[in-house]
Amino acid sequence: MKAKRPSPRWLWLGALAAIAVVLPLLVSSAFTIDIFIRVLLFSFIGIAWNLMGGYAKQLSLGHAAYFGLGAYTSTILLIRFGVSPWTGILAGGVVAALASLPIGALCFRLRGPYFAIATIATAHVLMLLFLKFRDFAWGAEGTTIPNLGNAPLMMQFDSKLAYYYIVLVLLAIGLAITYRIERSWMGYYLVAVGEDEDAAEAIGVNALRIKRNIYMISAFLTALAGTFYVQYIYFIDPNTAFSFNVSVEAALVSIVGGIGTLWGPVVGTVLLEASSALLQSWLGSSHGGVQLTIYSLILIAVILWRPSGLLGVLTDVYARIVQARPVKKEALLDG
């Protein structure tokens, strides 16, 4: 039975989208918008990670590889060939997706923790290679992106708002892709592989192919974030582009929010970034290490007491609030 009226789920989504669109117009401080952009960006990276790490349970700690490849592809195209980052962002995605094939072929031979270690190694190798090849990609010094002022065709804007809306669109794309995959055969295969790879193979799921495909999608999306990030900060070097922190945060926000759920990475990023922003304003200036100390404590707490993530806590609370209301049959079918 299909609902004629928009279901509560879609109303919620519409409200959320409206808030996301209006929110930056209500704040004037560039600092706050900067935090919003970070939240959206890391939600998006988390979503890309979650497709593979959350649904297929392939726990990568090397997504910086694709972040960096995306960033470098678009920057090299821009500076060496004058190609607009709008083309470069897609090219970066394609390069990353292609790179995920050989990397996956190697790493998928390993399971669990050793898969994670192998992915760390691949991201690290890429960083070392980009550090070494000075002629081709500026080596350790990196390079600044030539500032053209307000040049929308070259993905450069005077106002931070523009960047905000770009990354908001990226996030919407990421959520839409996850939503589609979740409800497709691929989604079920992914969950089956994540639950028990051998059992999934036994009932005819081609585990290697499904992992390869989701890795390509995940790499593609992560690379988009890489291009966006260098365009936003106007600078690239191997340590920023292939930063281990990107790999870590991609996994962290998903786990804290709720691994293998549509909204988990978003919830996780909002919680972590909010805690770190509050902490910074409370402590004043930056204390090296405070942010990650808090993140790791939250992560340990989540793992020990709520391994399914904090999104579940929110929905429990929500369920308790609406419990008093009689549940309509239609709503059940929609949900």
Binding site: L131, K132, I300
Partner: protein, 289 residues
């Protein structure tokens, strides 16, 4: 040419001994408890800071502080096994991987808060001395570290093979369920395995201190090496990890000597990726005795 080669091999073997202490710890925990300890490098870091502070404030030689760092880290290991690792055993990959990973993040960043990112060094009377064997130059501090590391590895081997507890640990590594049926208390065996592994990391830290700076991120170098060694040497295989660590020390040193100062790690990672491509089960087959 031959001298350069010999020098590079000696340098590699000497640092490989330290890698061995770290990777034996990783492989021991993996073998017995079936957990990959991402925080192993951070316990090397803690060992280094223990030695640094003992040397700076009490004038205790870093090599003597081995007798403090090892027991301290053994106790830390038992506590971590009891309060943290034990709680995620039998759960999925995610909690098992990310618990120790979070622990690693936590320790690095707490160290950053407490000790800042500054490099700390300890000068000893033997820090600068070296023996000349023909044209080959052997720094005394590294030689001592290597000899002690090998002695500790040998002691562990004897412990695993001739004591009841050691045999219980090997049995638990082979088949946990049957071991429990034989009346062995797994909690105790696991706690000792983690304790011993951390004590080895602490020893590595103290041995490094005379010639290596301590800083919060120092463990990452060693843990990456250890992971590669553990994969090369076949997961859970103590002897394999030892041999692979020495090989990797040499490979890294040859890379630095003949490819470029920044290429040591590339050589090591290429070794890892090649192994994964050609022999994903590692060079040494299953659990050897």
């Amino acid at each position: 040419m031959i001298e350069t080669l010999a020098q590079a091999v000696v340098n590699g073997l000497l640092i490989g001994g330290i890698y061995a202490l770290v990777s034996i710890g990783v492989t021991l925990i993996f073998g017995v408890v079936k957990i990959v300890n991402f925080a192993q490098g951070e316990f090397v870091m803690i060992g280094m800071y223990i030695s640094f502070f003992l040397a700076t404030y009490f004038g205790i030689d870093p090599l003597l502080s081995l007798f403090i760092s090892m027991p301290v880290l053994f106790v830390v290991g038992v506590l971590i096994q009891h309060f943290l690792i034990r709680r995620v055993l039998g759960l999925g990959d995610m909690p098992q991987i990310f618990l120790t990973f979070a622990l690693s993040l936590l320790l690095v960043n707490v160290a950053l808060l407490l000790f800042t990112a500054n490099y700390r060094t300890v000068e000893t009377s033997y820090s600068e001395t070296a023996i000349h064997l023909g044209a080959v130059y052997v720094p005394v501090a590294k030689l001592i570290a290597f000899v002690v590391a090998m002695a500790l590895s040998g002691t562990l081997w004897v412990f695993l093979h001739s004591t009841d507890l050691g045999k219980a640990m090997r049995a638990a590594a082979q088949n946990r369920d049957v071991t429990m049926l034989m009346g062995i208390n797994p909690d105790r065996v696991f706690a000792v395995a983690v304790g011993v592994a951390l004590a080895l990391a602490g020893a590595a830290g103290s041995l490094l201190m005379p010639f290596y700076p301590a800083y919060p991120m120092v463990g990452q170098v060693f843990v990456l090496m250890a992971f590669v060694a553990v994969v090369l040497g076949t997961l859970g295989n103590v002897t394999g990890a030892l041999i692979a660590s020495l090989m990797m020390g040499v490979a890294e040193s040859l890379g630095i000597q003949f490819v470029g100062a920044d290429s040591g790690l590339i050589v090591v990672f290429l070794m890892l990726l090649l192994t994964l491509a050609l022999r994903p089960s590692g060079l040494f087959g299953g659990w050897t005795r």
